[in-house]
Structure formats: C-alpha cells, structure tokens
C-alpha cells in the first residue's frame, strides 16, 4: 500500500472523491498501483527519463543562456477520464471550435456579430491581433483555425471549464503521443486491464485536415518550422515525419508568380498547404517584420491570391485573445443558436471602469492576466502573491487597464502524482486538440499538464510544469 497524500480539502481530486474513496474509473488502476513495489515504480520512472533523453524529447527554455535542452518532467500516473465525461467534453469542444471559426470568418467579412452589438466593435477592430489584411479574403471551407488546442480545467464543483482557446500555433500534441508511447512501453499490462481509447492516429487525422484545407486534388503539404533552435522543434520534426511530409524553414521556400515553391534536390516543387509553426509576424519580411529571417518574402501576397493555404490562417489571434474570451458563449448562441455546452470562467474586463473597480478591490482573491499573455508569464495569482507584488500589479493595472482581465482563482482539480515525498495531489489541466477540415476531428485524449509544486496552479512547462498521459476510457 502506497502512502497517497490526501487531496486538499474542498478541492476536486480526479482519483479520490470527497469521502476519500477511489472513484470507479480509477479502481482498476488503483488496485494495480497497490500491487507494485515502490522500487519497481521508481525504476520505471528512471527508465522513462532515460528514454526521453535518448529520444531527445527535449525543449529549450527561453532565457537559458547555456542553451541546454531540458526534459519536461513526465509523471507515470495517468489522468483518467470516463467515457461519458469525454462525450460531453468532445461535444462542447466541437461546438466551441465551430463557433470560433464562424466568428473569424464573420469579422473578416460582414462583421454581423459586431453589427448585432454582441461584441463591442472596437474590441475586435483595434485589437493588435486583428489583421486587416485578411478582410475579404476567402479561405477554403471558411476554416481559419484548422488546429485548435483548447485548455480545459475541472473546478472544485466537478464541472469542466474552458480556460483558454489556443488558435494560433498551439503546441504539445507530440507530448500527448509520446507520453502514450512511453506508458505502453513501461506498463504494457495496464493497457490489457483498461480500454484506453487510442491517440496514435492523430498525425493521420492532421494530414487529412491539412489536405482538406486546400482546393487542390492532391495538395503538397509541408510543416514550416522557425528552425531547430525553436523550443518546440522536436514537435515540428515529429509531426512532419509522422505525416510523411517535408519539414521546411523559411529559407527552403520562395515565391514566384504568387505560387510558393520549395528548393529540392530535383529542382523547385510547388507547395499547396503550409502547416506553419511560427507566428503571423514572422511569416513574410516584406509585409510584417522586415528584420525576421524566418519567413518567406512574398508569402502574404501569394496567400492573399489563394496560391497557398496557411494553417492556421493569419489573424486567428483575435479570437483567442483573453479580451475576446468572455464573448465566446455569445458567439455560440449567435452563430449556432445553441447554448454553450462547456462553461467559460467568469471574467472581469479591466477595460470597463466598473469591472476594474471590482478587480482593484479584490486583487488578493483574483487571478489577473495580460490580454495577450501566454505561457504563464506576466500574471498575478492574488491568493499566492505577496502584498508588495499585489501593489506593484495594482499600479500596472491602473496604468493600462485594457491590457488585463481578471478571473476568480479557480481550484484546478488535482490528480495523484509522483513527487519527492511519495504520491501527492497536484493541480492539472487538459489540452485536447481539435482539427477542423471538412469535418471536425478530435482524437480522444489531450495533453495533461500538471503543476509539480505543491499547491501551484501554474501548469506551464516553461514554469516547471510536467505532463501526464491522459486516458479516455472507452464506453
């Protein structure tokens, strides 16, 4: 019997219920865990670390001058999700992504949602992520976010909430796949005892989605990376290989007569779909950032002329911005005439005077985030912050209120996790990936990110978070 620290009071634990009994969908795993010796489990964890190093599933950290590649810590206790919960999540993700794509098409065309005053026009049109160059451009099947990573958490009330939509270049899917591979290698017997829905077909679903994004019959697809110094390079290379397509850098491509070509050993070859893993501003030095060496001169002109498809489209950032996030439920009602299946976290927009007032008087209870922030940087977690930190943030807020939103401090659910002291509950989230082509495809699973520090709510790998395998049990 392993010593499992009890979940934090008033929190929701994925394995144990309020009475500290094991939830039914964890029963089988729990029994198995208890039959293993600590020595064996520790040995398997070392094995996993060795394997991840050897495979080179590493990332480089921003600001780490030594250029060392680090492993994202991997935890061997899976996050298990029962079939009916996943069915609900899946339907909600499908609905949400559909509405977000419709929103993007709308604001770059007729702007009906703005005319109907569901969202203040200035919040969309003067948003730094709004790309005027996209106005009036028709995309195949009107899809903007071909690949979306939607961050979902479970609150202490047991309900799922969407924390964030990632519609630009969401990453992490390679960890979903590698974590599964690792679990199957370390503990094959577990997969005989559980009907875990497979995730291995993600690359093929991705390729189908990318091929459908083009009107060509047999389009040439490539993955575009900023290069092997990028922190997510492993994932770029991995996906290109798994899909059997070329991994290109900007310098491998050139534009001629509004068509894009790659330089090959047998001469130029036309490219129809670019799954680009770099931000909008780096795509074309002629139009966007002139100092960037990562992009392709003339790419935007070719794109606007329909000579090439970019996945995701340019300008999707306006829909996943934290200042637009509060309106997503309204988007679902407006475009689909449906009630949202997944909840949004209540959000105060500091741009509004009355909401700012509320935020300023409740800073010690709230989480305050930058509108364009990501990676867990530049945020305040009120209950965990010192008085000085709160005061410092108060000044920043007052100076530029429109740059911030605030949310109640959610108690992300916990899951038992191996830590130095044994097995203890740690907060976690889930990022499932939604693929939009002719149909919406969602591979049952996602990247489960876990905060390894006791009590921490920041799950980002850049802040020391780890990952787990996420199991969706088949019905």
């Amino acid at each position: 019997m392993h010593q499992i620290d009890l979940p934090l009071s008033a929190g929701y634990d994925e394995m144990l219920d309020a009475a500290q009994s094991v939830r039914p969908h964890y029963r089988e795993f729990f029994d198995w865990l208890n039959a293993q010796t600590p020595a064996m489990l520790a040995q398997r964890r070392r094995e996993a670390e060795l394997l991840f190093h050897r495979v080179g599933i590493t990332f480089s950290v921003h600001g780490d001058e030594s250029g060392n590649e680090r492993l994202i810590p991997f935890d061997t206790i899976p996050r298990i999700i029962p079939a009916q919960e996943w069915a609900h999540l899946e339907a909600g993700l499908r609905q949400r992504t559909q509405a977000l794509n419709m929103f993007l098409h709308d604001i770059y065309h007729d702007q009906n949602i703005l005319k109907a005053k569901k969202i203040p026009a200035e919040q969309v049109l003067v948003n730094a992520q709004f790309q005027a160059a996209m106005c009036g451009i028709n995309l195949p099947h009107q899809i903007y976010a071909h690949i979306a990573g939607i961050d979902v958490i479970r609150h202490s009330d047991g309900e799922y909430y969407v924390l964030e939509d990632n519609l630009r270049v969401p990453s992490g899917v390679s960890y979903m796949l590698e974590n599964r591979k690792m679990m199957m290698r370390l503990f094959p017997e577990l997969f005989g005892r559980h009907a875990v829905a497979p995730v291995e077909h993600y690359p093929s679903a991705l390729l189908s989605t990318l091929r459908q994004s083009s009107l060509e019959d047999n389009p040439t697809v490539v993955v575009m990376t900023p290069g092997h110094f990028n922190s997510a390079y492993f994932e770029h290379a991995f996906l290109a290989q798994q899909m059997g397509v070329e991994l290109v850098e900007g310098r491998d491509l050139f534009v001629k007569d509004l068509r894009v070509y790659m330089r090959t050993t047998a001469g130029p070859k036309q490219v129809d779909v670019i799954y680009r893993r770099l931000d909008d501003v780096f795509l074309d030095p002629l139009v966007l950032r002139a100092d960037s060496m990562l992009g392709v001169p003339g790419l935007l002109a070719a794109y606007r002329a329909g000579g090439v498809v970019l996945a995701n489209a340019i300008g999707t950032g306006v829909a996943d911005d934290k200042s637009i996030y509060p309106y997503v439920p309204d988007m679902i009602r407006f475009y689909l005439d449906e009630e949202p299946l997944l909840r949004n976290v209540p959000t105060w927009q500091c741009r509004h005077q009355d909401e700012l007032g509320h935020v300023l008087t409740h800073l010690d209870e709230l989480v305050v985030k930058e509108v364009h922030g990501a990676g867990g940087y530049g945020m305040l977690i009120g209950p965990k912050a010192s008085r000085a930190e709160i005061e410092e943030f108060r000044e920043r807020l007052k100076a530029n209120p429109a740059n911030y939103i605030a949310q109640p401090t959610l108690s992300l659910s916990t899951c038992p996790t191996f830590v130095d002291e044994g097995i203890a509950p740690r907060h976690l989230d889930l990022r499932p990936f939604v693929l939009s082509g002719n149909t919406v495809r969602i591979v049952p699973g996602g990247l489960a990110r876990v905060a390894l520090q006791k009590g921490s709510l920041v799950v980002n790998s850049s802040q020391g978070g780890g990952t787990k395998d996420a199991w969706i049990l088949e019905a």
Binding site: H53, R54, V55, G56, H228, F234, A237, F238, A240, Q241, E246, L247, V248, E249, R251, D252, M262, R263, T264, T265, A266, G267, K269
Partner: protein, 310 residues
C-alpha cells in the same frame, strides 16, 4: 526528391561521423607507434594527424611540443580544435538534429546517444585511450549498420552514403600522401621502422589483413599504393569509394547532377585503368595531389548540383 537543405544536413551528418571514425583510427595507430621503444620516426608519426587535418599551426600555438598526451588532448576532446573528434561528433549530431524527421528513430537515437556519451567522456575523462578509440569506431559502425538496416532506400539514404564515401576517399588520399612522404623522407633508413610505418598506415585504413591476404609479403610502396588506390575490393580504397559514389549519383532522382556524375565517372575510369608502377613512376605525391584536387572538385560539384539549389 528532397529538400536541398535536408540533403545537405544528411550529407554532412555522415561526413562528420566518418571523419571522427577515421580520426580515431589514425590517432590510435599514430599514438601506439609513437610509444614503440626507440621509435625514431615517432615525432613524424605524431605530426601526421595534425598535417592531415590541417591543424599543425593551431596545435603549435597552443602546445610547446608534440607529445602523445598533448596530441591526444588536442585531437580527442578539445572543443577549441574544430577538427577534434568531439567537434566532429557534435557537428554530426547537430546535422542529424536538423533532419531528425528524415532519418529513422533508431538512427536519431543512436547518434544522440553517442553525443550524450561523448559529453560524459568530456566530463569524466576518456580513461583508457585504446578503449576510447574503439568506442568512436564502434559508434560509427553501429550508426552505419542501423542506417543500412532501417532506412528507406531513397534519396535520403543516397545523400547519407555520399557523405560517407566522399569523406572516406578524401581521408584515404590524404593519409597515404602524408605517410608516403614521411616514409620517403631521407632521415628514415631503418627497414624495421619502415615496416612498422607501412603496417601502421594499413592499420589506420583497416587494410592490414587485406594486404597480407592479397600480397603475402611485407609492405612495399608499390603494392600498398596499388591496394589503397586501385583495388576495387578494398572498402577504403580510392577506387572502391569512387565506384560507390558513381553508383549513388546514378540513383539520385532528377537530372541536376549530370556534371557531378560526369566528374565522378571520369575519376573512376582513371583509377580503373591505371597501374601502380605508373603511379610510382610519375610520383606518388603528385598523383595523390591530383586525386585530392579532383575529389574536392567533385564535392563542390555535388554541393552546387543538389545541396545549394537556387
């Protein structure tokens, strides 16, 4: 068909690995020769790796004299020496990293593991010298074996092998040239020393057993030259390397490579129809210099044809 940049990385990945292997073999032989009792040519032997890698000047700036210890330090794990084994392994791994999706997982994991182990050796010291050289050679052999056993036969495999054989041809020509000039040096007259030196050269090219099998006599300049330059049966001979290069170039898709094919076949034909006594008569050094120039030119043509397409 593949990205030119990808082909370039694959080519240099295997070139650097081959270079590390050749260097290990050469150092192994040079150092053990230098340790022979009353080794008259020891200093010359130890100069050879520096001359071949064109790092003699850099070495002299950093070390007062050529001792076995200094040579080992400089050529094995010195990151300041771009020609050192550690630098070759690092370049090989970096090139592999840039195209890890184009080689098999086994190949990538192997070359990555080699690099991780090299860093361990760097941190802990290399320990037994012979073991270290064996390790370098073994890592190269294993990588080649994994490539042979796992990768799809196509342009990626072609460019990997092209890098290997261009580097190998270059190495054989350089090594033979430098050693032959040491041996024809008037200061060495001792027959026994001569014997050791030729045997060392053959060992450095893994050709000693082959030599004995083919010639059944002590090494002599003409038969050594014949084996290392002209024999199609010795895997590290110039002729065998060029033969492989021609076959690979003929297989690569597209017709960008016509010039490279022409140059390679030209050189191969010269090697095929030349006799050893002609080479000796015209001067071994002159002949090898010409070969080296042609191999370098061929490398340039390949680079231009495939790796840096506009």
């Amino acid at each position: 068909m593949m990205l030119s940049r990808t082909a370039d990385h694959l080519f240099w990945m295997s070139r650097y690995l081959e270079r590390a292997e050749n260097l290990a073999r050469l150092l192994d032989v040079s150092l053990s020769l230098a340790l022979l009792p009353q080794a008259k040519g020891a200093r010359a032997e130890m100069r050879a790796p520096l001359v071949i890698t064109e790092t003699l000047e850099r070495f002299n700036q950093r070390y007062p004299a050529i001792t076995p210890e200094a040579l080992l330090q400089f050529m094995a794990l010195d990151r300041e020496n771009p020609a050192s084994i550690i630098c070759c392994l690092r370049h090989a791994r970096e090139n592999a990293h840039a195209v890890r999706g184009k080689i098999t997982a086994e190949m990538w994991e192997n070359i990555n593991a080699t690099w991780l182990e090299a860093r361990q050796l760097e941190a802990n010291g290399i320990g037994n010298v012979a073991d270290f050289f064996d390790w370098v050679k073994a890592r190269s052999h294993v990588f080649r074996g994994i490539a042979y056993g796992t990768i799809l036969r196509g342009d990626a495999y072609s460019f990997i092998r092209l890098g290997t054989f261009i580097e190998r041809a270059d190495n054989t020509a350089r090594l033979l040239d430098v050693k032959a000039s040491l041996l024809t040096d008037a200061t060495i007259e001792d027959k026994a020393q001569d014997y050791y030196a030729w045997a060392a050269l053959l060992r450095a090219l893994s050709a000693y057993e082959a030599y004995l099998e083919v010639y059944r006599e002590g090494p002599a300049i003409e038969s050594v030259a014949e084996l290392l330059i002209l024999s199609p049966r010795l895997p590290r001979s110039l002729c065998a390397c060029l033969d492989a290069i021609c076959k690979i170039l003929d297989q690569i898709e597209g017709d960008n490579g016509r010039l490279a094919q022409r140059d390679a076949h030209k050189l191969l034909n010269t090697l095929k129809y030349t006799r050893a006594e002609e080479i000796i008569a015209s001067g071994l050094h002159e002949y090898l210099s010409q070969c080296l120039a042609q191999i370098n030119a061929l490398g340039g043509t390949i680079d231009h044809a495939y790796l840096r397409v506009a």
